[in-house]
């Protein structure tokens, strides 16, 4: 590997924004009463190094275009990877035909013109440096992450590898109110997945990673490898425990799943359909007074930051839960209209279909105690480092998932445990968040510090 590569997708001559505007224009000429076009273009690089040797190397780029058209209150969408004149014509034609079979929905439509716009200034979402490393050094980054994990302890004898990824993407949105917006985002990550083996032959695997929008902010390969080794080694010799009712502490890697459940619960789509146990609870206490949950699509350099949402509305900061009181749902234009509210600029737009709802930078505000202090206060309890499965029912709040982690004895992490379940009901679980750690760190658009929950059932022997 001595060659660096040329950009792998040819750039459009006219630029993506004018392609999108042209599609909107042609949809309107074709009889649409409103139209919206999205164009995505991206490049990806990834490599996995396993046991010191390159295992995979992938590099490519792609792009796609999607259009949503309205005939009054009827709408339909189509998409294509074919940017030729014939390909775009075919996409438009089928959108206009498809809309005819859809129902009149009084709430359907693109946002009012006055609401459209884009945050100004540099949001620091794109950094050229993710592609600055020559090919061999990217491989070296992955190799070093794996090596640091393998060198950490003789019990680490195998590995699923170290990896390095870099990607960048450009997104354009245009609609028939004259909105046109565009942004670029970059991303890079390094990870290691070591496998440790104990004297009885039992194997355990865990992982660690660092992710950033800029290569300059990425953790070193050695830091990532060492942490992956630490997380893997502590699982060796894991045992089952007896069924118990004890306090549970969630590591940030798993506590963020609780934030995801809250997100699903306040998602306008679930709310208007009554498919969430949080529907109709606005202004009510749904969590402990220590719980504050924020969604903020505007944070500089954030993983969930965009200058405008999937419908072209400037992103904003929304307080979802304040001192345990549900203050706001998270909405797009459609679900806001259904509920008689204002959109919170959380529309997420894929290539096809109606816009969904996605988080900005969505997080639980940190408390003051360190994870160590939270664990130190527990005599007998469970520290969860991994959940398995998808056992949360947002309609009823019923919750039951597989888990593994460490057993807490007299304030210390005493021994690893596995093949157990954690069960309860989310309605009570959110009210029983008795401690919130100070260790908030964004490793994606959803983040939570360490939390302690009481009143859960641990299922075991």
């Amino acid at each position: 590997m001595t060659t660096t590569l040329e950009p792998s997708a040819p750039k459009l001559e006219a630029g993506l924004a004018s392609v999108a505007q042209d599609v909107v224009h042609r949809a309107m000429k074709g009889g649409a009463t409103a139209a919206e076009c999205v164009v995505r273009e991206g490049d990806e690089f990834s490599t996995v190094v396993r046991l010191g040797q390159v295992e995979t190397l992938k590099e490519s780029g792609s792009r796609a275009i999607g259009v949503r058209v309205f005939f009054g209150q009827r709408s339909a969408s189509t998409y294509s990877s074919d940017f030729s004149a014939a390909g775009i014509e075919r996409m438009l034609k089928s959108a206009l035909e498809l809309a005819k079979i859809c129902s009149e929905d009084p709430y359907a439509g693109i946002p009012e013109a006055a609401k459209l716009g884009s945050l100004s200034g540099d949001l620091h979402l794109y950094h050229e440096d993710v592609y600055s490393l020559p090919g061999p050094e990217r491989i070296e980054y992955a190799r070093r992450a794996e090596k640091a994990a393998m060198d950490a302890d003789p019990r680490i004898k195998n590995s699923e590898g170290g990896s390095f990824d870099a990607a960048s993407g450009r997104k354009v949105l245009a609609n028939s109110h004259g909105f046109v917006g565009e942004y670029r985002r970059s991303y890079c990550s390094v990870s290691a997945v070591p496998i440790a083996q104990d004297e009885n032959g039992g194997m355990q695997r865990d992982y660690w990673y660092s992710v950033a929008r800029s290569l300059a902010k990425l953790d070193s390969a050695e830091q990532v490898g060492k942490e992956a080794a630490r997380r893997t080694l502590r699982r060796l010799g894991a045992r089952k425990v007896k069924t118990a009712h004890v306090p549970v502490v969630l590591d940030p890697m798993v506590s963020r799943s609780m934030l995801e459940h809250i997100f699903e619960g306040v998602n306008g789509d679930s709310v208007y359909r009554g498919a969430s146990f949080l529907a109709g609870k606005l202004g009510e206490k749904i969590a402990g007074a220590n719980v504050n949950v924020i969604d903020d699509g505007t944070m500089s350099g954030g993983f969930g930051t965009t200058p405008f949402d999937g419908e072209g509305i400037p992103t904003r900061r929304t307080v979802v839960i304040e001192n345990g009181i549900l203050k706001s749902y998270l909405l797009n234009t459609y679900t806001a209209k259904k509920l008689g509210m204002e959109t919170t600029a959380n529309a997420s737009r894929g290539l096809a279909g109606t816009p969904g709802i996605g988080p900005g930078n969505y997080f639980l505000e940190p408390g003051t105690k360190s994870p160590k202090q939270i664990i130190a206060a527990i005599k007998d309890g469970l520290y969860v480092t991994e959940f398995l499965g998808h056992g949360a029912n947002l309609v009823t709040g019923d919750y039951s998932r597989g888990a593994s982690g460490m057993w807490i004895v007299n304030g210390e992490l005493a021994y690893p445990v596995e093949e157990i379940t954690v069960a309860g009901n989310l309605k009570e679980m959110f009210c029983n968040i008795s401690e919130i750690g100070s260790d908030l760190e964004f490793r994606g658009s959803v983040a939570s510090p360490t939390i302690r929950m009481d009143g859960l059932t641990i299922g075991g022997e």
Binding site: S8, R205, G274, L388, G391, G402
Partner: protein, 492 residues
């Protein structure tokens, strides 16, 4: 040279030659570029995918979309290394660029490439004359409206209904430097109904769906919207009165069909050859060893007509087959793709699959199920003093290295003194893959495959799969409920 015949309908055969003007000479040139830096093997995967998706919510057709995506992925294998690049532009210049990019994985003199392609005879497991993507869209809307109506009419406590329909037609061409040449045209259709039931004090949800590599007429004949709607509504209503599920180790009986997701998670993934080649699976080195009770025989079978997990050829051009994984409790084999079969000296079982042209193929399951046994399902229930009878599941997950797996029951009942009693709330079941099947003490004579809804995720790639199982009894498994248990019964 292309030889051999497939049973495909005439209009799909030679799809890429007709639509993109590809010639055998082009393919040879692309493969030569892929092997220009050495490399042991190279292949090209051309894909042209058309898809439709419809949703009815609140009895309105709220969403309709259609799309086309096309591209070509180029893979170069050199020893254990894989180089991969793809393009969504099928012009010769872009494919050659992708080929040269993928070629960089190797560093040796150029290889002479293939001199002739050989098309192996393949099955015709899903010979639809009119793929559903080309069928009249109003007929698809009608399916959803019928589902919506039936679910709403089922019970006044059904408050919300959402019905979805999606279909696709995937045309593929795979050519390899070993002479591989395979074309296929793969239809896939699915419909789904989900319901929410409510009373003043309680709520429940239910979902049901099905499909396969079928034409639209499947939903007008074998499995109607009414069938799925009633099933979804029944589950939602049942949940209104569900009791707390028990917690801890107990006897578990799985009903037939979709609960076969147990096999997918507990043993299927752990038997994928890549994990065993790398010795990262809890099943590594266990071939010939007992991993299940002698009543258990588990197979993966990609050759079942019309099934969601079936394929005429896998995504490396290899015909699919029936592979015995566990025979009378003894571990017999792995699921392999080209790379692992070559490196491990095993036969290629035709399990090399990928999500799309953007993805590197790897060993994946097709339809995975346990063969029927001798026991009467009623006898199985009657043999249980205190346990759980689980008949419907959400998804599952496995850690292949330590073997721990979960699957989440969405419809389950208590068994008390040999009788099915109260419905219980959804609960996760957790176990250890290499030994859970050793505790299977009874296997029913009622093997059933699922309705055709499964999607399996591995390494970020989703592919359609099938599962199946007869009624089975597992002597001990951990149930993740919330109810406290007392000796001799469950306290509520």
């Amino acid at each position: 040279m292309v030889t051999g015949h497939t049973g495909h309908t005439a209009n799909q055969e030679r799809f890429f030659f007709e639509h993109y003007g590809l010639t055998n000479q082009d393919l040879e040139n692309y493969l030569a570029a892929a092997l220009s830096a050495g490399g042991d093997y190279a292949d090209l995967y051309f894909e042209y995918l058309t898809s439709t998706s419809l949703m009815v919510d609140e009895s309105l057709v709220k969403s309709a979309s259609q799309g086309i995506s096309a591209g070509c992925g180029v893979r170069v294998v050199s020893g254990e290394r894989t180089g991969y690049a793809y393009t969504d532009d099928l012009s010769p210049q872009r494919i050659l660029h992708a080929a040269r990019t993928a070629a960089l994985i190797a560093s040796a003199p150029a290889k002479t490439t293939v001199v002739g392609f050989q098309q192996k005879p393949a099955r015709s497991l899903y010979p639809v004359t009119l793929p559903s993507v080309d069928a009249d869209i109003t007929a698809k809307v009608e399916l959803l409206m019928r589902g919506d109506k039936t679910a709403r009419g089922y019970d006044s406590r059904i408050k919300e209904v959402r019905a979805n329909y999606s279909d696709e037609l995937r045309n593929i061409l795979v050519v390899g430097s070993d002479g591989t040449f395979a074309e296929d045209s793969q239809p896939l259709a699915r419909m789904n109904v989900s319901c929410i039931a409510k009373t003043e004090t309680s709520s429940g949800r239910g979902t049901s769906g099905g499909g396969g590599r079928v034409a639209l007429d499947f939903f007008f004949g074998e499995k109607t919207p009414e069938f799925f709607a009633k099933e979804a509504a029944r589950q939602a209503i049942l949940q209104l009165d569900a009791r707390e599920a028990p917690a801890g180790d107990m006897e578990v009986v799985l009903g037939p069909g979709w609960p076969g997701v147990l096999l997918h998670e507990a043993v299927g993934h752990g038997l994928e050859a890549d994990f065993n080649r790398k010795k990262t699976s809890a099943f590594a080195g266990l071939i010939g060893k007992r991993v299940a009770s002698e009543k258990c025989t588990v197979v993966d079978n990609g050759t079942m007509p019309w099934r969601r997990g079936s394929l005429n050829v896998d995504d490396e051009g290899q015909p699919t087959q029936e592979t015995v994984l566990i025979e009378n409790g003894i571990l017999k084999g792995y699921l392999s793709d080209k790379l692992s079969s070559k490196l491990m000296g095993l036969a290629d079982t035709g399990n090399g699959r990928r999500e799309s042209y953007e993805h590197i193929p790897m060993p994946r399951m097709t339809n995975t199920y346990m063969l029927a046994g001798q026991d009467d399902p009623g006898d199985i229930i009657r043999s249980v003093k205190n346990g759980v009878y689980a008949v419907n599941f959400g998804g599952g997950q496995v850690d292949i290295t330590n073997g721990k797996f979960v699957f989440s029951a969405s419809e389950a009942y208590l068994i008390e003194d040999g009788k099915i009693t109260a419905p219980i709330k959804g609960a996760t079941l957790i176990g250890n893959g290499p030994d859970v099947l050793t505790r299977v003490s009874m296997v029913g004579n009622d093997l059933k495959l699922d309705e055709g809804v499964g999607t399996c995720g591995k390494d970020g790639q989703a592919v359609p799969v099938g599962v199946g199982i007869p009624t089975i009894k597992i002597d001990r498994m951990t149930v993740g409920g919330t109810a406290k248990r007392e000796p001799g019964g469950f306290m509520q």
